[in-house]
């Protein structure tokens, strides 16, 4: 077990290296020196030279001890992403500040959608082949075809603006539950089609097994078969989905945060796109990748806990 974890950890080293390489190519080679953009239109030569010095664009790209390549690696690995162009705040501080509101939105959204879609999937799988099943698959596909933006805009318009059930926009004095409720609901509803369809397939694969027939044959109720026996055995694909979704929870929801004015990481990124703030996007990309790699490792370890048949070789 320990040796397996160490082996997997070593395997992440080239991945992290690759991510750093990609962000370096994107933000240092393709995008390159944008000091004139930061300095503005009527900037003096000294200002531009100062900016170049701060972000290291006056250094050679590769072959020097203090080249851009080396400092990109060093800065990223120590989470020192420099200052944002727009307001001179340290990028890492912005990210730390944005994580809490993002999690306040995404965690209830994620748990809600997981519980609802898995229970619905069990029900639909139980009625497989019937009219309920066919209809629900069609509704799922239809829901998957509606763009996310429309869910948000119509939801906000009708539920918050027209009928006044929820606050329209983020307001710092409100309790968290109040302003998170509507975006979380919309997020759950928009994602329901895709996740219900996925879990239905998982459950159907599971229902084909012999042990399900045995359980029904010995007279167990449908509820006990579905929720006790099938659910436990369907855990492997569910765990994969759950653990790999966690990094995305930290990143927040780009569009939901934008529309409801929640000052999380998604909002931060929209701001950064608008202001062409490459520093922020670079930092978010790297942190997102690190989280993904870490949780990927955790998934593999989780497998061994729920399913002893998974070997480490």
């Amino acid at each position: 077990m320990i040796s397996y974890i160490i082996r997997r950890l070593l395997y992440t080293v080239p991945i992290i290296f690759g991510v750093l390489l990609i962000t370096f190519i994107l933000f240092n080679i393709v995008s390159g020196d944008v000091s004139d953009q930061i300095a503005g239109k009527a900037a003096s030569a000294e200002t531009i030279a100062e900016i170049k010095n701060e972000y290291g664009w006056n250094k050679p790209l590769f072959f020097a001890a203090d080249s851009q390549f080396v400092s990109h690696f060093k800065n990223s690995l120590t989470f020192n992403f420099g200052r944002s162009w727009s307001d001179r705040e340290l990028v890492i501080d912005k990210i730390k500040r944005g994580a809490i509101p993002s999690l306040a939105l995404t965690v209830p959204m994620f748990i809600g959608s997981l519980v609802i879609s898995i229970s619905l999937a069990l029900v639909v799988a139980y009625f497989r082949g019937g009219i309920v099943d066919i209809l629900s698959v069609f509704i799922c596909v239809a829901m998957m075809s509606i763009p996310f933006l429309s869910f948000i805009l119509f939801g906000q318009y009708f539920l918050a603006f027209k009928w006044g059930l929820f606050p329209v926009f983020f307001w710092p004095d409100l309790p968290i539950a109040n302003y998170v409720a509507l975006p979380a609901l919309i997020g759950i509803f928009a994602g329901l089609g895709g996740s219900l369809r996925f879990y239905r397939t998982v459950m159907l694969d599971e229902l084909k097994n012999d042990y399900v027939r045995t359980a029904f044959a010995k007279g167990l109720s449908a509820r006990s078969v579905l929720f006790k026996h099938v659910l436990k055995n369907a855990m492997i694909p569910i765990i994969t989905q759950v653990v790999l979704a966690i990094p995305f929870l930290f990143l927040g929801s780009l569009l939901l945060e934008r529309f409801f004015g929640i000052p999380g990481l998604g909002y931060l990124m929209i701001d950064a796109i608008g202001g062409r703030d490459f520093q922020v996007i670079n930092a978010m990309t790297f942190i997102g990748a690190i989280l993904f790699v870490v949780f990927n490792l955790i998934t593999d370890i989780c497998y061994s806990i729920v399913d002893p048949r998974v070997s480490f070789e």
């Binding site: 080239p14 991945i15 690759g18 991510v19 390489l21 990609i22 962000t23 994107l26 933000f27 393709v30 995008s31 596909v141 239809a142 998957m144 075809s145 509606i146 763009p147 996310f148 933006l149 429309s150 805009l153 119509f154 318009y157 603006f161 397939t201 159907l204 990094p247 995305f248 990143l251 780009l254 569009l255 990124m269 929209i270 796109i273 608008g274 062409r276 490459f278 996007i281 670079n282 978010m284 990309t285 997102g288 990748a289 993904f292 790699v293 990927n296």
Partner: protein, 317 residues
């Protein structure tokens, strides 16, 4: 003893190729055929827009920037879907938006297949060192959350010009639509690459490849003439399943201001309609949503049917 050969009747059944057989299975699904018809209508609209751009035929229905009435006219018989804030017809804008979306989704699919298929085939066929490098490349790309990756690419490539005059290619200016499909295409080849690699690894052990090798076929001939035709149905299935995702990605990128600015797309329509919605002007938002919904639904249904008929061994039900 005189059984003339002429009296024996042959009940010869004409063999059907794999593709004809699949088409036959597909034809039996009425819903899928309806979806195919809808897709054909969209493609016809896009083709018509391109033809009218290249020739001088300018039908009134495609003059999207013409003023047809007062601003914010609600849907009526004259203007079927109402007008926008400049008095332009929403219907015409929605029709024109199909061009941007479908062009983007098409080129993005082509780019992602052009990268993913050869890399996947090479990784699966050659194995060893080449496999290690390609697997490393796509594991790295897939470990960056997709939305971040695509935003980073779109942001960096936006309004960028590459000077390829040294290589005799001239200067390539990226703007609007080309940024979007390049960003989507360059980031979304991972799935197809992984799929093709796995399939090729399976096929490599089969007798027909061993036979081709023993005949002395070259590697590139084996890959392109033998392996890729045998996994081609996966490429088609992947193409149809990606398409919807690309259309939706284009909407989001255009909405974020990273896409086309000068002509209407469904994403920019939603972006402008966002501020009109609270004032009660619902038709532009609804038109864009409906346009996206219908094409996505059609491709989703058709793609599922296509997968079932091209890959009958696959159990989806």
């Amino acid at each position: 003893m005189n059984n003339a050969a002429g009296t024996i009747k042959f009940n010869a059944v004409k063999g059907r190729s794999y593709w004809l057989d699949s088409l036959h299975r597909l034809r039996k699904r009425p819903l899928a055929m309806c979806a195919a018809f809808v897709i054909a209508v969209y493609i016809a609209v896009v083709a018509f827009i391109y033809i009218s751009q290249w020739t001088s035929i300018k039908p009134a229905l495609l003059q999207w920037n013409q003023q047809v009435g007062r601003e914010y006219e609600s849907p009526s018989k004259k203007n079927l879907l109402g007008t926008d804030f400049l008095g332009r017809s929403v219907l015409r804008k929605a029709l024109y938006g199909a061009k941007v979306s479908i062009t983007v989704a098409f080129w993005a699919s082509i780019i992602s297949l052009a990268i993913g298929v050869p890399l996947g085939a090479a990784a699966g066929y050659f194995g060893k060192f080449i496999d290690d490098i390609i697997v490393w490349l796509f594991t790295t790309l897939s470990s960056i959350p997709y939305i971040l990756l695509i935003l980073a690419f779109a942001l960096v490539l936006k309004d960028k010009s590459f000077d390829f005059t040294k290589f005799g290619l001239g200067k390539i200016e990226l703007s609007g639509i080309s940024t979007v499909y390049l960003a989507i295409g360059l980031t979304s080849w991972v799935d197809i690459c992984r799929l093709i690699r796995g399939e090729v690894m399976k096929h490599k052990q089969r007798e027909y490849i061993l036979a081709a090798q023993s005949y002395g076929c070259g590697n590139s001939r084996i890959i392109f003439r033998h392996l890729i035709p045998n996994v081609f149905h996966l490429i088609i299935i992947n193409f149809s399943l990606c398409f919807v995702g690309f259309i939706q990605a284009e909407v989001i990128l255009s909405f974020l201001g990273l896409g086309e600015k000068n002509c209407p797309s469904w994403g920019t329509m939603i972006d402008t309609a966002r501020l009109d919605l609270p004032k009660g002007y619902w038709w532009e938002m609804t038109a864009a949503t409906a346009a996206i919904f219908v094409i996505s639904l059609a491709i989703n249904i058709f793609g599922d049917a296509l997968r079932d008929s091209l890959d009958p061994k696959l159990k989806t039900r």
